[in-house]
Amino acid sequence: MRIRAVLDVHDLPEHAFGSRAPIWWGTIGLCLIEGTMFGLAMATYLYLRLDSRAWPPLRTPDPDLLLPTINLVVMLVSVAPMVWADLLARRGGSKGAVRFALILATVLGLAALVLRWFEFDAFHVRWDTNAYGSIVWLILGLHTAEILASVLEDVVFVAYTFRYPLDEKHRVDVSTSAVFWYFVVGIWVPLYLMLYFTPRLV
């Protein structure tokens, strides 16, 4: 078949941020998958509760509030340097500034991981004690894996900025990785409310 040129695209830019970029849509896809998984884990938690006369089950105290709440605050605060890194990446901020924001976010992420280690104890139950223990450990474990993945991604970005220039492609990557970070922190809010407050409601 003969072809006929009707449109020339060579003036178009080679990169774009946010919902214009395919990688942003890929990340949203990942968030949808993970979000569905957490939604179903929440459904499991509430479903198992239907079977139990007491919740938490007998001889298991209510979960502690102090340390988990501190950790929630740490995670929420960690969003700030991520927003900053995102804005710097989009607006052509210097490599040093982006790196600094990423290091800040990484440090807060690591702090959240350390606190999470102790957060498992806040439930006073083991995974193999009863079904309540099983689902609580599972939710904590899955979410810890999410934090770990985000932190590791950040560490690799930081390492990258020490070795290579921050070109447009990697600026889009930094900006998109922030979306996943927001998701990881955001999904914890309903999970936190469910895990620590629904047992206290009658």
């Binding site: 078949m1 003969r2 072809i3 006929r4 040129a5 009707v6 449109l7 020339d8 695209v9 060579h10 003036d11 178009l12 830019p13 080679e14 990169h15 774009a16 946010g18 919902s19 214009r20 970029a21 395919p22 990688i23 849509w25 890929g26 896809g29 990942l30 949808l32 998958i33 993970e34 569905t36 998984m37 179903l40 884990a41 499991t44 479903y47 198992l48 079977d51 139990s52 089950p57 995974w127 193999d128 004690t129 009863n130 079904a131 309540y132 223990g133 099983s134 689902i135 450990w137 599972l138 894996a145 770990l148 590791l152 690799v156 990258y160 290579y164 220039p165 070109d167 492609k169």
Partner: protein
């Protein structure tokens, strides 16, 4: 979301058609960029959606043949009463591996693989959105399949049915590693399916040819996109469910242990929350195939395009409200059961809309009864039969009578083979010329169809009657006094016809590869963009990205294809367009071949397989996957040189 600088593509007024010599150098330059590396390493590192999709298709078809052999052995065993060709233990493995393979290793992967091959071509782009991820997906899928089948051949195949209900599949009643192999096979195949789903959605959303607004997207692409969304919302359920099962068995959690507050029905809820949409995940791509075939062979645009799209979306939504109809025989409250009966009957509405649209298209068109259309007609007949029994068993009292009998086996084989395998064979005949450049033989195609159609009905129709007579599914034999011998023998006599049909198909494929009629670009005079490029397509898909002016682009501009210019040919550049109207937005250089996706698949495999035996498998997998991902991300070769050059300037 868009800023003003987005659309800067300029319309070229009355530029003369591109000349031949320029075109030849362009082909060379593009191929240089887009082709796979040669040899074995090229096989491991390929990021070409066509070669990966073809590998998926061939692998899935091999699993289809293997699971078919299982089915053949089962029919042999059931051919007469009190038969002892296989014992109960092997029989349990046979039907479990048969069902698990057909669902997880054949049907879903082959349906999405057709999308991986044709969605990029139909929307007019050079590759899927994340080419390396695609490679990772294939190897993850392959490992899952090998795990199941190596387990089976070592006599440690799963033996608790394709849905592995607890308590049977729990630690108490199924010691050993059989069920763990099943659970981890799920992990592998679902990771692969979810990766593919994201690929298809982003490719169809962001890489459509300019002008292909959402209203002009071909029905097959819609079908694959809707399926991909269903995968995203359904597959996490079965992954979570099989993980609960695996850790109940491995580290003593109590998700399904009622003694410690667990619940066995939790497994059924989660499994069928995935399992029912799964049926439509297999079926909706088939609807897309049928629509493509009907449109081409009726020689007119599909009747009710918008109604078709909405029906498929409606099917996708309603599919998530049906899962409890698999659990009518459990202690679900009756009001709940009524709701799910209503939802199950409701799904007949969008299905009916589609059937009528196809009939209207054929009625008002000028149909050519070639082999692909033959399979479509077979599909309509069988799917209507399967649909009717579906409406019957949506009713609770009827379902309670036939639950777990051969009536159910008959029903789901009619909807799955009739609803998915028939369209798939039609699709093979329709698209084989595009895949290979040669036509499949028409006479052998007729034999293929009629043997399958007749053999299928002889095998599966008697099962309705056996079910009504009370024969339960999953029994390895039955006593002569039950009077089920005659119908079972009849069913078993149909099986050789199906085997013969598949053999004819294989011969046809093999012979046509070398000796089939040469196809050319568009042998069927079809309207969609995959037919606007060579057969088989070059590594880069299209020499020039086409511009689209309607739903049936190749029928609208018959002698001249409008295209864009200005994409770079010295790197793997694709055109990114906006979601709604497919207006050009930016150009994007994709990643090339890499061995790291394969390494990541190996890392995941090591972690997942190790976690069959020890809880330390998970941390092992995390560490290995981190290394692989860092290797994947880290600039190498050309990218490193370009970054270094960028730093100097």
């Amino acid at each position: 979301m868009r800023d003003g600088s987005a659309v800067r593509a300029t319309t070229v007024a009355a530029e003369p058609a591109v000349d031949e010599r320029q075109l030849a150098t362009r082909h060379e330059a593009l191929d240089e960029q887009w082709r796979d590396r040669p040899g074995f390493i090229g096989w491991l590192t390929s990021v070409d959606h066509k070669s990966i999709a073809l590998r998926y298709i061939v692998t899935a078809f091999i699993f289809f043949l293997l699971a078919g052999i299982n089915a053949g052995i089962m029919r042999l065993q059931l051919a007469r009463p009190d038969n002892h060709i296989v014992g109960p233990d092997l029989y349990n493995q046979l039907f479990t591996v048969h069902g698990s393979t057909m669902m997880f290793l054949f049907a879903v992967p082959i349906m999405t693989a057709m999308g991986l091959y044709f969605v990029p071509l139909m929307v007019g782009t050079r590759n899927v959105a994340f080419p390396r991820l695609n490679n990772f997906g294939y190897y993850t899928y392959l490992t899952g399949g090998l795990l199941l089948w190596i387990g089976f051949l070592l006599n440690i195949g799963p033996d608790t049915g394709w849905f592995s209900y607890v308590p049977l599949a729990g630690p108490e009643f199924s010691p050993g590693k059989r069920v763990d192999i099943w659970a981890q096979m799920i992990t592998f195949t679902e990771i692969a399916a979810m990766v593919t789903a994201v690929e298809i959605i982003v490719t169809a959303f962001k890489q459509r040819a300019p002008g292909m607004s959402l209203g002009r997207v071909p029905l097959f692409v819609w079908a694959e996109v809707i399926t991909a969304f269903m995968i995203i919302f359904a597959m996490p359920a079965v992954m979570l469910d099989s993980s609960y099962l695996a850790i109940d068995r491995l580290v003593g959690t109590h998700f399904f242990n009622p003694a410690e507050g667990g619940d066995v029905l939790l497994h059924q809820h989660l499994f069928w929350f995935f399992g029912h949409p799964e049926v439509y995940i297999i079926f909706i791509p088939a609807l897309g195939m049928v629509s493509s075939i009907v449109e081409t062979f009726a020689r007119r645009p599909i009747f009710g395009h918008t109604a078709m799209v909405l029906s498929m979306i409606a099917t996708g939504f309603v599919a998530f409200g049906l899962w409890v109809h698999h659990m009518f025989a459990t202690s679900i409250p009756q009001l709940g059961e009524s709701f799910f009966t209503a939802a199950s009957v409701m799904i007949a509405i969008p299905s009916g809309v589609q059937i009528f649209c196809w009939i209207a298209t054929l009625w008002s068109g000028r149909p050519r009864l070639r082999v692909p259309l033959l399979w479509v007609i077979g599909f309509v007949i069988l799917f209507v039969i399967g649909g009717l029994t579906g409406v019957m068993i949506a009713s609770v009292p009827f379902d309670l009578q036939v639950h777990d009998t051969y009536f159910i086996v008959a029903h789901f084989h009619y909807v799955l083979i009739g609803g998915a395998v028939f369209p798939l064979f039609g699709a093979f005949y329709y698209w084989y010329p595009k895949l290979t450049g040669r036509m499949l033989g028409e006479t052998l195609g007729q034999w293929n169809f009629w043997l399958f159609f007749i053999g299928f009905n002889i095998t599966f129709f008697p099962m309705h009657l056996l079910g009504l007579e009370g024969m339960p599914r999953r029994v390895y034999t039955y006593p002569a006094g039950m009077g089920w011998g005659g119908l079972n023998l009849l069913a078993s006599l149909g099986a050789p016809l199906i085997i013969a049909s598949v053999a004819v198909f294989l011969v046809n494929v093999w012979r046509s590869r070398r000796h089939g009629a040469v196809a050319g670009e568009n042998p069927w005079d079809a309207p969609t963009l995959e037919w606007a490029t060579s057969s088989p397509p070059a590594s880069y898909g299209f020499a020039h990205i086409p511009v689209v002016h309607g739903r049936t682009p190749l029928w609208e501009t018959r002698d001249e294809l409008p295209v864009i210019t200005g994409l770079r040919t010295d790197c793997r550049e694709v055109l990114v367009t906006d979601v709604m109207d497919a207006e050009p937005d930016h150009r994007y250089g994709q990643a090339g071949p890499s061995v790291w996706p394969f390494m990541l698949a190996l890392a995941a495999a090591a972690g997942i397989i190790a976690s069959i035996f020890s809880p330390w498998g998970t941390p092992l997998g995390v560490v290995l996957a981190t290394i692989a991902l860092a290797g994947w991300f880290w600039p190498k070769g050309r990218e490193r040189r370009e970054l270094a050059a960028g730093e100097r300037t």
